[in-house]
Symmetry: C2
Subunit: 204 residues, 2 copies
């Protein structure tokens, strides 16, 4: 029985990464169907058949991207410490989300594209990976509320609102930059507003 999966060589690891990086930029702004293999190839300085050498097909690149990025994208949520100070834990999470919107807008938009279009390639992953994590965090929030540490509210909707507001700055940047031009202190203004907002909401 021959081994079907060999461990990847140095070149393989490197080139797959180059491909993912180029594909991330393109998929996140043009969507899956709006991106061609030729575009990806040119963006990473390779030839089209070379992409297919590393990935079975176009969809495999997209799926690998989603899977690879999913866990680091969710890691801040997992970092919420049940034994820490509730308000500070949540605000810390919000700050990390704002930071990620600023540092990794491509990742944010990649997921936004995928979800807006009905998550055709990610639904199973949402079920299996995100859902348990989400439920656990809802549990932590619920306990903090029951203990009177933060205001009582529906934990799930609280998380939704945090995601909505923080990711909005990455996903809708095209709109925001039209409505609020004069770039320099926009990020700080956003951070301050969001912190103020959730502090108010969460204070019992």
């Amino acid at each position: 029985m021959t081994s079907t999966a060999r461990k990847p060589s140095r070149i393989q690891t490197e080139n797959r990464k180059r491909i993912r990086d180029a594909a991330l930029g393109l998929f996140s702004t043009h969507g899956f169907r709006g991106t061609t293999l030729d575009q990806i190839a040119e963006a990473c300085g390779m030839h089209k058949p070379n992409l297919i050498y590393y990935y079975e097909n176009k969809e495999a690149i997209h799926i690998d991207l989603l899977n690879t990025l999913m866990e680091e994208w969710l890691s801040p949520l997992d970092a919420m410490n049940p034994d820490g100070d509730p308000l500070e834990e949540i605000l810390g999470y919000i700050r990390r989300k704002m930071e990620m919107s600023r540092l990794y807008p491509r990742e944010s938009r990649l997921f936004a594209n995928e979800i807006v279009q009905g998550a055709p390639r990610m639904l199973p992953h949402l079920e299996s990976t995100l859902k348990p994590l989400f439920d656990r965090q809802c549990g932590i929030l619920a306990k903090w509320m029951k203990d009177g540490k933060i205001a009582e509210m529906h934990p799930a909707h609280l998380i939704f609102s945090i995601w909505a507001v923080t990711q909005h700055y990455a996903d809708f940047e095209a709109q925001i930059s039209v409505l609020l031009p004069g770039d320099d202190k926009r990020a700080r203004g956003a951070d301050q507003f969001v912190e103020m907002m959730f502090r108010k909401v969460l204070t019992p």
Copy 2:
């Protein structure tokens, strides 16, 4: 000199509408590039060349959709009355936005797709139509704040947060329905949460 623009016939008006309706459903879930003329044609029971008879090309359908829907999409913002009760005016706006997320998720996702991908076909429209409206509403909010009617904060970011939270329920429905299954009272829970949230934020 022959007239270049004739007034549209009854059939023209009807069929253009049929096309727009079919295209709205497809563009909003598959994006512009992810939707084919054949799909649109089948969805509205026409043949492909017939689409081209009514619209110059595929892009013209998309542009017409965006333009046609833009103003009704923005109308609730314009309905905010500067002389009304500030808190109630804003909460009323938020309620209408939540209602629109529920009744017109296709429109919401159409715009979301467009903006996430950098608004390639809508940037001018954002500048010319949305921006003035947005600035005016920011002015109204600022005045309410100065008068001490609502809490002091950055008006633009307040509007962003309202858009983010309300549209999130339409745009990210695929995710929400995984995380919060058992559909029946989700909409009411969302309404209640959002109202509670912004009431807290806005109360001085």
